[in-house]
Symmetry: C2
Subunit: 343 residues, 2 copies
């Protein structure tokens, strides 16, 4: 060990030996199952990749079949989850868009006149119908607050801007009965990105902005830009890598589009004037950079933006086990955040 | 791709196929130089590991020699940095501990009656003397505020609790002239851990707590516990891995000690009643888990704790380039945080 190594710890560039920029080569290695996750979450964190994680579905038929397979038995399971969570789900429609209103057994007094809009994830291509409302069940249960989950149209049948149009239609309709400052908007992954795009669109349309938003692990950059797309590839066992269905979803949702359009990749947007924002990710999350890049830009633009990064969790893993302490922590933080910031 | 893969994205554990818990095997791969860091920071982020990064110095003599080598020319460089940053450095002593008082050219009006205590990093074994005050130069410059940097005694010559004792002695002395609510404490790495331990100790000693603290990428767990010790090994090009000098520093600082003692590994401490706290890390940081574990525990214990994670930066890399946008962002955020929270 020479001075050059110590210099790596030191404070000034002038102490550092100049090296040419180069890619980092990592050799075969094992990452043990983390000891710092709860027993309930351990199984999810330690799950092996599915053997077919590099498959990239492209046709409408393939997506329809996959959604059918994945959700075949899900309605009954979602209803069972709702029952054990003590929430009721009512299907309805706002401005022609199908919604699910999720109501907890007890609406907390402070939340009586508030409403959360939920935008589900699934890469703009997955989770039509009731299964998409699962996250809203968690939120209603842990938060003691009503949630309206938007069953927006999916790609590839309905590419951009269909999903965003549906979300905006619901938002506009809700503003007719609930003041914007009492409305929070939250969602995960593609849903998190839609949350950000909704605020950008609301500002463009001179609509009042929601009182607070929580874009969790938002898919804020559809292009493969951001270090965790590379550094966490293969580390994240939920999304695994950009090359699989993630890239397929880009082609399905945004064919021929400029992926740096802020309404598609909100990290390129201007966040000045955004409401208080809570961002969430995990240390193993393929979208960690998608999250922290939005956070840093928001802070630079003066937004009251907060960040939580879950220890050892991959993408959206706080949605995989209803009663895990990590899940409780996640939704309890969202609850506190919305209670603190909604009118 | 089958339903099981989609289920990985889905919301309920019931949809997931159960797999036995297992370590993750990653094969050879390259991580490109990130496009999301500034040109000024690129060279640091892309720097190759030093060839001797696995060396684990153990003897007092080795540490003395390394510190001598690393800091041989550093005084002149630190003084040049201070000059270009427009700050003055005055050596002094408080309660028998050597300090450096770093004063910016212009103390902002709101900071006139405030003081920041700086606790430098270096694994409890490196950076004696002036070189340790480098981070305080950055802070005084970007923050427009006076900083007192503590030149605490180093291991292995002076193992735990010498460093903490020195920091407490300075803190107690400063409280005689500055109200605690106007005192902020900040530091990086081992310094960040000392910041946390100082508050734990201050509470044990019934001293008033500082008004706000910023433990940046704190070495909050001396044991090799936390996922990023594994997942970011070899990804972080500053610390590289636990196995090198990091493990050596544990042996130097805490020989024979219980590494889960909260005064050594504050992640095991009780943070209830802590002042507002800003934690900072980087997506490639070996200490990312050390940071987010403290943050989560603080939030659970009701502390007003905030987190910033720098895109693509390894451990403490915001200290490597004085004028990089990432550095400016880092210290500007600390400035805003202390201004918001100090009396």
């Amino acid at each position: 060990m020479k001075a050059s190594k110590l210099a790596g710890l030191a404070l000034t560039l002038t102490l550092l030996a100049a090296c040419p920029a180069q890619a980092l080569t990592l050799h075969d290695r094992e990452i043990p199952v983390p000891s710092t996750v709860s027993p309930q979450m351990r199984e999810n964190v330690a799950r092996a990749y599915p053997p077919d994680w590099l498959v990239k579905p492209l046709s409408l038929q393939e997506y329809a079949r996959l959604n059918h397979e994945a959700t075949r038995d899900s309605d009954a399971k979602i209803l069972a989850l709702a029952k054990s969570a003590g929430v009721t789900i009512q299907e309805g429609s706002l401005a022609g868009v199908r919604i699910f209103t999720v109501t907890p057994q007890v609406i907390l007094p402070q939340n009586r006149d508030r409403l959360l809009i939920h935008v589900h994830g699934g890469g703009y291509v997955f989770f039509p119908g009731l299964v998409g409302a699962g996250e809203a069940i968690y939120m209603a249960h842990y938060g003691g607050i009503r949630c309206v989950s938007i069953d927006y149209r999916l790609a590839p049948g309905f590419p951009y801007p269909a999903a965003l149009d549906d979300c905006m239609a619901v938002y506009r309709e809700i503003l007719k009965t609930v003041p914007a400052q009492r409305v929070g908007v939250f969602g995960t992954s593609a849903g998190g990105s839609l949350v950000l795009s909704m605020v950008l669109r609301a500002r463009m349309e001179n609509l009042p902005l929601p009182g607070a938003i929580c874009p969790a692990t938002p898919w804020s950059d559809l292009s493969k830009t951001g270090d965790s797309y590379f550094a966490n590839a293969g580390v994240d066992n939920a999304l695994v890598s950009y090359e699989g269905w993630v890239a397929g979803a880009v082609q399905a949702y945004a064919p021929g589009r400029d992926l740096k359009d802020p309404l598609l990749s909100p990290v390129y947007g201007n966040f000045a004037g955004f409401p208080p924002t809570l961002l969430v990710s995990g240390t193993r999350d393929l979208f960690l950079s998608n999250t922290v890049r939005v956070h840093a830009k928001m802070l630079e633009q003066g937004v009251d933006a907060r960040l939580i990064v879950h220890e050892a969790l991959s993408h959206a893993q706080y949605l995989e086990s209803f009663s895990a302490p990590e899940t409780r922590f996640h939704f309890t933080q969202l609850k506190a955040f919305f209670e603190q910031n909604l009118h």
